[in-house]
Symmetry: C2
Subunit: 613 residues, 2 copies
């Protein structure tokens, strides 16, 4: 592979490649200063203990914030040079639109602070890191890949830095290349691996600082420090457009139900966001199925009832969304998949699997159509999960619904026209998209932040950019220690006893108490019956609307750090003015400040996401 090679570019690609993403005020120019924030702590004592044991050197570090020492209007044009650094960057996770801009932002920041700094990119993902196979990133490479999709600049292979051998190879690479920093671009798994690397490097007194950047289309690397992931905005928008196009098509043809499976294994954020943008008739989220312990039968019945209700209004078309992770959230399907994987691991031949399953599992397996059986028998992925992209859950459901509707027709409970389903899987076609303006800007800012973290000597941090709901100029940037984002999974083994896993950054599922889901619930009945399809259209780069963000981001309450700052500010103000014997006027001001604080606190009211506060 010719990594970093010049590409054949379309008109739009060329235009995008020469467009410099705007930087937040706090990252502009060469007067960016670092402010040390509060030390991070983990409130759960068992988690805290376990994290401290595994990450003695990198846990408990403070939050870092970048501030621009100059006023907003007068960014200094005089360059303040910082020492030259040598940094390596690697795509550790799966490709995600905007990933290239992390590299571009990092490069720009390095060069603008010292022209002698050098950036190398490891080729073919972590494999390149282990083998010390890299590319010198030049202005030409940057110009070719700025604002472009995919991970083509450097490629990727396996996503892991896990085994002792892999960790040691990474250490050897960073030491022999004399790197000041290593930037790891990826999702939950890659950033957990990065945390381990940071700890190992610290232990080995290695000069290299390890910095992670949250890049994953899944949008499931979320916590009080991380509001969004690079790629989610683009992938949601591309998929929403396609879902909407099918809604339009369904409404024009009036004879098909479209069953659409979208990406999202462990969390259904993409499906939820697409539903909010496109308003399909029905959405089934893995999180709902898990929470309500719905069986295949329950889900089928729910869809059939909807089809029947619509038929009563003479509507024989519709659009139903589901995430690829759905199959694993259905209890009996999950159990079947686990049983199959155990047998496969034992070396059981695929044609012998069914007879070796428990009677109920075998019965469920045999009830599936042949093409699904073959998909269920696929070996699990490297992370032990099923090959979800290959299991056509949408076809299983469509078939079950068809059978049930025929049954209802025969027994006379359904008198409408024949039910027709067409199935779709929107997977890789969105992942390779040109990144949206938001993803370009967000990734670019994160790349800049990664540089400042390395320059400040921070190790074991994730670059963070927050306040994302607002205009780019007002975004905040900084870093948060990996360890502050970790939790420990407990697997219950009978009453009172639990097996405690390794501390990790875990994927965050859709919060069924969160505002985006609430928004969906609010309108679900109207969406189901009234065909309120909306089409966000193709991603735009110019003109009004090009700055539109995902609906999830717009309604989520995630600006914890911003809110904390506001609280501190309010509190300090009150403290500084209220004195014994102060005037009524002062008291009025204080009271008003306190009202604001109550408002802020009520927005931050406890939910599953802010247990660390």
């Amino acid at each position: 592979m010719d990594f970093g090679a010049a590409m054949e570019m379309s008109c739009l690609q060329k235009r995008r490649s020469s467009s410099l993403p705007e930087l937040p005020h706090c990252l502009k120019g060469t007067d960016v200063e670092i402010e040390i924030g509060e030390a991070t702590t983990v409130s759960d004592p068992v988690d805290a203990q376990s994290i401290k044991r595994c990450f003695p050197l990198t846990c408990g570090q403070p939050l870092l914030h970048f501030v621009n020492s100059l006023s907003r209007t007068t960014i200094s044009s005089q360059r303040k040079e910082k020492p030259a650094v040598k940094v390596g960057v690697v795509f550790a996770g799966r490709q995600s639109p905007g990933g290239h801009n992390v590299v571009c932002g990092l490069y720009d920041a390095m060069k603008s602070h010292n022209a002698d700094s050098s950036l190398i990119g490891f080729c073919g993902g972590t494999t390149g890191l282990f083998a010390q196979s890299f590319l010198h990133i030049t202005e030409n490479v940057i110009a070719t890949y700025r604002n472009q999709g995919g991970f083509g600049m450097l490629g990727r292979t396996v996503d892991q830095i896990r085994t002792t051998q892999q960790v040691n190879a990474a250490l050897a690479a960073c030491q022999s290349l004399n790197l000041n920093g290593l930037v790891i671009i990826g999702g939950v798994t890659s950033n957990t691996d990065a945390a381990q690397l940071a700890e190992t490097f610290a232990e080995a007194n290695c000069l290299t600082k390890v910095i992670g950047v949250p890049v994953t289309i899944n949008g499931d690397l979320k916590n009080q420090f991380v509001e969004a992931n690079v790629g989610f905005d683009t992938v949601s928008k591309v998929n929403s457009e396609l879902v909407s196009n099918l809604c339009t098509d369904a409404l024009s043809a009036e004879k098909y139900y479209y069953f659409i499976r979208l990406m999202g294994r462990r969390a259904s954020h993409i499906t939820l966001e697409c539903a909010l943008q496109s308003h399909p008739n029905m959405v089934i989220l893995s999180e709902e199925v898990t929470a309500s312990k719905l069986t295949l039968f329950d889900i089928t019945k729910r869809i059939c009832d909807a089809v029947q209700a619509r038929a009563n209004q003479d509507k024989y078309h519709g659009v139903i969304l589901l995430p690829e992770g759905l199959i694993e959230s259905i209890p009996e399907a999950y159990a079947l998949l686990q049983d199959i994987h155990v047998l496969l691991k034992k070396g059981t031949q695929t044609d012998q699997i069914s007879t070796n399953l428990s009677p109920w599992a075998s019965a469920l397996f045999e009830s599936m159509p042949i093409f699904i059986k073959r998909q269920l028998l696929l070996s699990p992925e490297s992370d032990e999960s099923a090959q979800l992209s290959q299991i056509e859950t949408e076809k299983i459901l469509a078939q079950l619904v068809e059978t049930e509707m025929e049954k209802r027709t025969q027994n006379g409970t359904y008198k409408g026209k024949k039910f027709n389903a067409i199935c779709h899987f929107f997977g890789y076609q969105a992942r390779g998209s040109l990144p949206s303006k938001f993803d370009c800007e967000y990734a670019n800012a994160l790349g800049n932040a990664a540089y400042h973290l390395i320059s400040a000597g921070a190790n074991g941090y994730m670059a963070t950019v927050t306040n994302l709901k607002h205009d780019v100029s007002q975004w905040r940037a900084g870093g948060a220690p990996f360890t502050a984002m970790m939790t420990v999974q407990r697997i219950l083994r009978g009453p009172g006893s639990a097996l405690v896993g390794k501390p990790s950054i875990h994927p965050v599922a859709v919060d069924l108490k969160g505002k985006p889901y609430e928004l969906l619930l609010r309108d679900s009945e109207r969406f189901l019956m009234d065909d309120l399809y909306a089409n966000p259209g193709p991603i735009q780069y110019k003109g009004p609307g090009c700055d539109k963000k995902t609906i999830s981001l717009s309604v989520e309450d995630q600006d914890y750090m911003g809110r904390l700052k506001e609280l501190y500010a309010c509190l300090n103000k009150v403290k500084s003015i209220v004195k014994p014997g102060c005037s009524q006027e002062i008291l009025k001001v204080a009271l008003s400040s306190m009202t604001s604080m109550v408002d802020i606190l009520s927005v931050m009211s406890p939910d599953t996401n802010n247990k660390h506060l």
Copy 2:
């Protein structure tokens, strides 16, 4: 269904809905005049005879051109009123992006020439026409659907106006509703039906003038009068973006071959255009397969050889495009499908089909995977063709290639890594898209032209807008008789004898001698080996690039009428200045004009498309 109902609109939809498409100069204002052109003739004597017999009243009519009697800069603001007309419009073909704008353009033109004119839209396609079920189209309806995708304003059902009963129902509707005009929106089939309707109406002395508009995503309604079809631009662009995204993804992951099937039954225009925009590694067009009589084995071998050549360069990824019509262009597969359809028609049960096939057909059938067998056994569509959207040809090919690569691995002729394929079908998700700027403007201009044809009392015409390569302002508009676009298919029955079919407007396949295909051929070797993937990105509505047209349109030589006009102009000029004893200067000017004429003539050099000239 609530036809014409208000929609839930996204930001972009709202913006698009309030944006008025630009009109060509020749259609602006209320001073549009009609110029009667040459009478149309059919050069093939057998065709001519047959067409004259079937369409005695509507064949041989002249071409019509619209000209603006005012200069380009001073479009009169004073309205010249024309008599009020009552017009009906119907979506007869399959939904195609931009279709709504034909209605909008028609409405605008009607109202601007007389506020008392009224437009009705038949609901649910031709079914609505037969049943006289319609909607009064108001300013509100227009505002809701302007520049929007799908056919939701009026819906559609069956596409035909064929049987005597159907034709009579249409006649009764137009008579009882007292329509001055009926505008039929659709592709080759619908416009052939429209031609029949026009003839029948003329015979019945019916007041209603029948006008067709070329709207089909397939882009196969092409001839010397029609340069493009509404919807093709949008669908090609949406599909090209998705194909490009997969190319990006393939390059990032470096481990999969993507087999992508695109829409296009009888012609591969979409596949060709997507290949020109995205540069995938391989494209297989139905027209190539037909021309070279390639078997399934030949195609498989071709792909395997490509996979092997790429493996020699350590490349294990790639993207291969094919049209859904491919399966029918493969001789043995076509024969098998025909045999199956004959048996199905006879009432043979699906599980008895295989045993009733000829031995070779049965052998081919049995060699197919089960899921493909089921797809081959589907009943044919209303037009006797196979249900091509449901036959996963991409999966057949992927499986055949996989088997062959395994064989080559076993016999040692292939030493590379395992071949992995992932299959995609991009069908309906593009058809429902918001229309591109080009489709919005083109459809709008066609709608305007349809009004002027009706207003001029033309019957049996297709609205035409040409010179499309150039800026909208320079587009030409007019009408051409359906009969001038007809050909007669001959089915050879032994030497010298041929069965002559009914005159129809036939779909035009990709011209293997045409410029778009030539362009693909020129680069095919580089595309195959060098991964020159380009990504046109999402359709843009603002900023540079939003006026980009399809590559096919840009390189095709289709502006026959424009060229004829240029020729006339040159010739008249020469004739008017060259006199006996004229000066050397005049002769020089004349010579230069003649050089231009030679150039024009050489561009118009004979190919399959201009046999009528």
